[in-house]
Structure formats: C-alpha cells, structure tokens
C-alpha cells in the first residue's frame, strides 16, 4: 500500500473518536474509600516497585518529591465533630486525558491497553502535561536522583531509572502487565486472567481498598465494582473519562 493510499484509507477511518474500541485490554482500577485507611502501604509499594527516588529533606521541602500514588487528606468539620478523609490519588489513566494532547513530542499517549503511557526517552521536559493534569499526578525529575550505595541494589531491574528533565507518573505497573501477558502467552492463553496481574499498590493494600483489572472483561472484579452504586470519578465534571473509579466512603449519622 503506498503512502498515499494509506493516507486516503486513514482519512476514511480516523476522523471519529473510537480508536479505543480496538484495544485488547482496558485496564482500570477501583478505589473503595470506605476501605481505605490512609496507611500508605501503597505509597511505599509503588516507591519500591517503580524505583521512585529518595529525594531528601531539602528537595522535599522544595516540593520536588516523587510519589506516583499519594494519599490526599481532607478534614471536615471542627473539633469535636471532625473527620479526616483519605483519598489515594494516582494517575487516573483518563481515556480523554488532557495531558496527552498537550505533549508536543507525543511522549505521552494512549496505548493498546487503554493505559496512559509516558515514554521517558521521548520526553523533552516541557512539563506541560503536569500543568494540564487536573489530578496533579505527574512528577517531574528536577534532578538526577541518587541512591546512596548500596541502596541502589534494591532498584527494580524491570523498571528504568529516570534521568533529570523528564516527566514520570504511574504506569499501572506496566512491567507487571507485560509479564502477565508473557505468562499467558506461554500458557497458550489468549488473555490474562482476572487477578493475575496487580500493580504494586493494589497487591499490597492491606484493606483491599484498591482493585485492579480489565474493564473489558465483564466478569472481572473491577468491572463488577464499577457497577456499584457508590462509584464516582474524581473531578468527573472535567470529563476526563478516567479509568480509576472511586467508591464513595460510607458515612452515616450515629444512629
């Protein structure tokens, strides 16, 4: 097919949204806020799995920490009727992601699995994706990070170490997804089984507030949870169509 034919063909095909229907998987996550206790096990799990840097006190004070998943905390009311609510905040892997459109070099785009990927090698560091992201879950490498020897020995060889000047963010542990797909292929299965792959945060969550799975599989836990009446999306009014769905915290009066 000549290039012109390809363009003509593409002109017919690609003028409407809906490219995503062709995806193999559509990974998603649910976060049950009624289960979340704010223990931050997920934060450390992510740091461990994805080689997040130890930035040090100075950089932390300057606001340059890197936490792909973080716990946000909101107080409600005043003493003595006071509540503290936690919400884990991570890349929402929006299907209509504002960050993707703004990147001039396509360093972030939507892949075949419905993931919002960040290609570190391609990133030139305009940081515009972080500005465009309403969830503020994109983290920039303000320095080349350093691991005091022998802390570098704990680095996960399946995940790259990002250099200064590039943006990074939650990948839904893409290396684990890949491995699970390889295993499925080796086993002669066409698809990854539900629960076979879990990002580090989901894997460790002691209260099982986080659940991960394929939204295209109607039988997966995550698909079922997404039918729960408590579901909502954070900043839904922005129409980002996120893949992370929260389940409302249950608060009843003391009856």
């Amino acid at each position: 097919m000549s290039i012109l034919d390809r363009i003509a063909d593409g002109w017919r095909k690609y003028r409407k949204p809906g490219y995503y229907d062709e995806f193999d998987y559509h990974w998603g996550m649910t976060v049950d806020l009624d289960r979340c206790t704010g223990c931050e096990a997920c934060v450390t799990a992510c740091q461990s799995e994805n080689n997040l840097p130890i930035v040090g006190e100075k950089a932390f004070a300057e606001g340059r920490e890197v936490k792909w998943i973080r716990i946000e905390r909101y107080w409600e009311g005043e003493f003595p009727d006071v509540k503290l609510r936690f919400i884990p905040m991570l890349c929402q892997h929006c299907d209509s992601a504002p960050c993707e459109t703004v990147c001039p070099v396509s360093a972030t785009y939507h892949n075949q699995d419905g993931l919002n990927t960040q290609v570190y090698n391609r990133c030139i560091g305009t940081r515009s994706c972080a500005v465009y992201c309403p969830y503020e879950v994109r983290y920039f490498n303000f320095y080349d990070h350093h691991w005091d020897s022998p802390l570098d020995q704990q680095l996960n060889p399946d995940v790259t170490v990002r250099e200064k000047g590039v943006m990074e963010k939650c990948t839904f542990c893409i290396q684990r997804i890949r491995q699970a797909k390889d295993v499925a292929k080796d086993d002669g299965r066409r698809r990854v089984r539900d629960g076979e792959v879990q990002p580090a945060c989901v894997q460790t969550c002691p209260t099982q507030a986080l659940v991960f799975g394929d939204r295209k599989d109607p039988e997966s836990q995550v698909s079922k949870l997404m039918n729960n009446p408590r579901t909502y999306r954070v900043l839904d009014e922005l129409n980002t169509d996120s893949s992370v769905v929260y389940l409302k915290k249950v608060e009843d009066d003391h009856a």
Binding site: I3, R6, I7, D9, G10, W11, K13, Y14, R15, K16, P17, G18, Y19, Y20, C94, D95, S96, A97, P98, C99, E100, T101, C103, S106, T108, Y109, H110, D241
Partner: protein, 170 residues
C-alpha cells in the same frame, strides 16, 4: 557590451520627465535609479505587471495543502492516539494549516520578489552610487554615439546636471 547614457538629476520630477521624453523618442525602456521610490512612474513609463501576488497566492495554497497534509497525513502514518481525540483531529490541524499557509506565503513572496526584481544580480550592471544618496538618475541604452548624443541632449534639456556615458559588460 552596451553603452548607457546616464543623466543625473536633482529632483524626481525632472528625472521622470526626462525618462518620459526618452521613451517617447523611441529608446528602449529607460531606467530610473533613485534614493527613494518615485511616485507616478507607472504613468510615465507604463503599467508594470508584477508576478509577486501570483507567487504569494501560490505559496499560500501550497503551504496550506502542505500544512494540512503534514498534520493529518502523518497522523495516519504515525498512530498516536491522545486524549480520546480522533486520529485525524481537524480543528488543531487547521492551526498548523494556517501557520504553514502564512510561512509559505511569505517565502514565495520573497521568491517572487527576487525573480521579478531580478535580484540578486549575477553580473555587474549600470549603477551610479550618487543615486543612493540624493540624486535621481535616468539611464538609457544607446546603440551608438549617435544615439548617445541624442539622449544626452534630451537629458540635459530635462535639467540633468550631469550626463555620463557608462558601459556595461556583456
């Protein structure tokens, strides 16, 4: 090798008048050299057709096509789905089209200018440096001395303060 008669004038009016007379006397189109553009040249020496606007238009059309193809065509070749938008996202591509239209328009205008103004020169041509300061010069090609004499007379009549014979290498 061509000889030219060059009359040097103080002001544009007399120079223009001289050029008009020369043209009327059957000389091949006399040339005016001046430090500033002279108004009313067209009336005297005849309407000049410029190809520049054609160039500008062609540049614009070409640039627009190129710009749209650059954005939309390559989007099909490099499938990067972003932000839930279609692969061929017309509105943003129109901006690329717009910018490319202007860029090519500018470049082709310049090209048109160079071609129609016969710049840059590749060979030495008749030139009197005074014309760049405050003199107005009328040059006209003369086949022989006879011609030159006649031209000199016309130029002096029109008020040229000086008439020179200049030679241009072939």
């Amino acid at each position: 090798m061509t000889n030219f008669a060059a009359g040097i004038f103080h002001g544009p009016e007399s120079a223009l008048a001289a050029a008009g007379t020369l043209k009327g006397a059957g000389y091949t189109t006399p040339e005016l050299m001046s430090p500033v553009p002279i108004e009313g040249v067209e009336e005297v020496l005849g309407e000049k057709k410029s190809v520049i606007k054609t160039f500008t238009l062609m540049g614009g059309i070409l640039g627009g096509t190129f710009g749209f193809l650059l954005a939309a065509g390559t989007a099909v070749l490099y499938l990067h789905p972003t932000g839930g938008r279609p692969i061929i996202t017309i509105p943003p591509f129109l901006i690329i089209t717009y910018e490319m239209t202007i860029l090519f328009g500018i470049l082709f205008t310049v090209l048109g200018f160079f071609i129609s103004a016969r710049l840059p020169v590749i060979r030495e041509r008749v030139y009197l440096p005074e014309s760049a300061v405050d003199k107005f010069v009328v040059t006209v090609a003369c086949a022989d001395d006879e011609h030159f004499k006649r031209a000199e007379a016309i130029l002096r009549d029109a008020g040229a303060e000086q008439v020179r014979e200049v030679t241009e290498e072939a």
